[in-house]
């Protein structure tokens, strides 16, 4: 039971982070260089979070 709600939470986190990445990717082109750097930094952070969530999700499924 516990694990089911964990999975649901992970799925939500993944959904929310990927949506965030997608929105950020769309404005990337229009950003001036300085903002672009900042944005890329935040996007990389989000991408790492996504990777972490996916790894956890994999574990959940395998356990």
């Amino acid at each position: 039971m516990e694990s089911k709600s964990e999975t649901r939470e992970l799925l939500h986190d993944i959904e929310s982070k990927t949506a965030g990445l997608r929105s950020a990717a769309k404005i990337l082109r229009e950003c001036p260089p300085k903002e672009k750097k900042e944005l890329i930094c935040l996007m990389k952070q989000s991408a790492q979070d996504i990777l972490k969530y996916l790894t956890n999700l994999e574990k959940e499924i395998n356990s």
Partner: protein, 450 residues
């Protein structure tokens, strides 16, 4: 109308950045937690609030709790969520939110939200718009203006057509006031400058860029940052300048004259012309690519003679703060019968003069005014064509005289099969005048033999 103020409650830095980018022309406050948001809501008034529902890890939709206090302060409340389960959507609406969207497609979602916010306020606005800001009782003009105001909050470029004095500048200002943009309304009349000056005026310049550039100067583009740039008389802008401006509009950035430092500016373009648009295009005075970029929405203002029902409402508006006018028996009818070639500007001047005097509008005053105005108009039909007069208004008298000289020379050359000697003799002009005029309007062409 005041500038729009937003509150965005969002715990993710990346999502905050995205919102900041999409709302960059407005005043935006951010909060990351429920507590910070409540604090901000207490301290200030916001027009539109965007709430993320889940604030922090393992949060149980605490964003929902922000809805009632925001609604009670009169804000338009939008919930943005990465969850769109029916349960969540229902909860959000039950708490009183006005709008809901699922994250991930911000550009489209945010403009849709702004449009809905606009619509909600539209009916309340209409009353004040037509009785205070742009006076009109004419049904078609009203509906055209309501239509254009629907786009006020977007950054869609707008083109305003209409004879001199029909209210183009007045309308451009109105659109800006309804845009909610934080910046200023900056207008520039393109026909008031020669091309070098126009470029310096629009783009600004660096000290020493040209003789007379004693210091750095911000141009209109930078002044219009987060605001509106109103380009009046676009037909007077050279094609070269149009190309430069097109680039600045598309890239939202530009180089001031003589500078290698790129400047950014988030401006919205409204342009206007009293010239015939089709003619400007066929004569290639207006570049097609530039035209396409500036005519997102086009509105044509009718001359006053085609909306006479506006004459008396305008008179009342013009005298609101001055002396009340009294009208002699037939004076009103005479005012209605007049064609007002100078449109609202002519009417305003007439009323201002009357109000400065004894405030009595007699049949005589009207007749004297109309006779004068008709004389000017008759002259337009005879020696001075309306087109020539418009050209002089657009280019200044000197510019118009040069154009007139060119048209006369061209016709004469055509009649003499291009024989310049005959044209020189017939028009009694010097070779120098003929060549410099041809060079000016046709560039270095020597197809025609003397």
């Amino acid at each position: 109308m005041k500038n729009l103020k937003f509150l965005v409650v969002e715990d993710e830095k990346l999502a905050q950045k995205v919102m900041a980018k999409h709302l960059e022309e407005y005043v935006v406050d951010f909060a990351e937690t429920k507590e910070a948001a409540l604090h901000k809501l207490q301290a200030a008034d916001y027009d539109i609030c965007f709430f993320d529902l889940m604030l922090g890890k393992k949060d149980n939709c605490s964003g929902l709790k922000l809805i009632p206090p925001a609604v009670s302060k009169g804000a338009y409340v939008v919930v943005m969520s990465s969850l769109d389960s029916e349960e969540i959507v229902n909860k959000a609406y039950e708490s009183g939110c006005h709008d809901f969207y699922v994250k991930g497609n911000e550009e489209a979602n945010i403009s849709a939200v702004l449009a809905r916010y606009q619509q909600k306020n539209a009916s309340a606005n209409a009353v004040t718009v037509f009785s205070e800001q742009f006076i009109t009782d004419d049904p078609q003009t009203r509906s055209d203006i309501l239509e254009v105001l629907k786009y006020a909050r977007s950054s869609l470029p707008i083109l305003i057509l209409g004879q001199s004095g029909t209210g183009k500048t007045c309308l451009a200002r109105l659109i800006h006031e309804h845009s909610g943009r934080a910046g200023q309304f900056i207008d520039i009349n393109c026909s008031a400058y020669n091309q070098e000056l126009l470029e310096a005026e629009i783009f600004g310049y660096k000290k020493g860029a040209f003789t007379g550039a004693y210091e750095n100067r911000r141009g209109k583009l930078l002044e219009a940052d987060k605001g509106t740039l109103f380009l009046d008389e676009i037909g007077a802008m050279s094609p070269d300048m149009q190309t430069k401006l097109l680039k600045a509009i598309e890239e939202k950035s530009f180089y001031p004259v003589g500078s290698d430092k790129k400047e950014r500016s988030e401006f919205r373009v409204i342009s206007a012309t009293l010239e015939d648009l089709q003619k400007l295009l066929t004569e290639e005075k207006l570049r097609f690519d530039f035209f396409q970029r500036i005519h997102g929405f086009t509105i044509a203002l009718k001359p006053l003679s085609q909306r006479k029902s506006d004459i008396f409402p305008l008179i009342s508006a013009f005298t609101r703060t001055s002396k009340k006018l009294s009208f002699e028996k037939h004076a009103r009818t005479l005012l209605l019968n007049h064609t007002w070639p100078g449109n609202i500007r002519e009417l305003k001047r007439f009323i201002d003069v009357a109000a400065a005097g004894d405030g009595m509008i007699t049949q005589d005053t009207v007749l004297r005014h109309t006779a004068q105005a008709m004389k000017t108009e008759r002259q337009s039909d005879g020696f001075l064509a309306q087109e020539q007069y418009d050209c002089a208004l657009a280019k200044g008298l000197n510019g118009a005289m040069e154009k007139f000289a060119y048209e006369v020379i061209k016709r004469s050359l055509l009649q003499h099969a291009g024989k310049k000697v005959k044209t020189l003799k017939e028009l009694k002009i010097s070779k120098r005048m003929l060549y410099s005029t041809l060079r000016k309007f046709e560039g270095k062409k020597d197809g025609i033999k003397i």
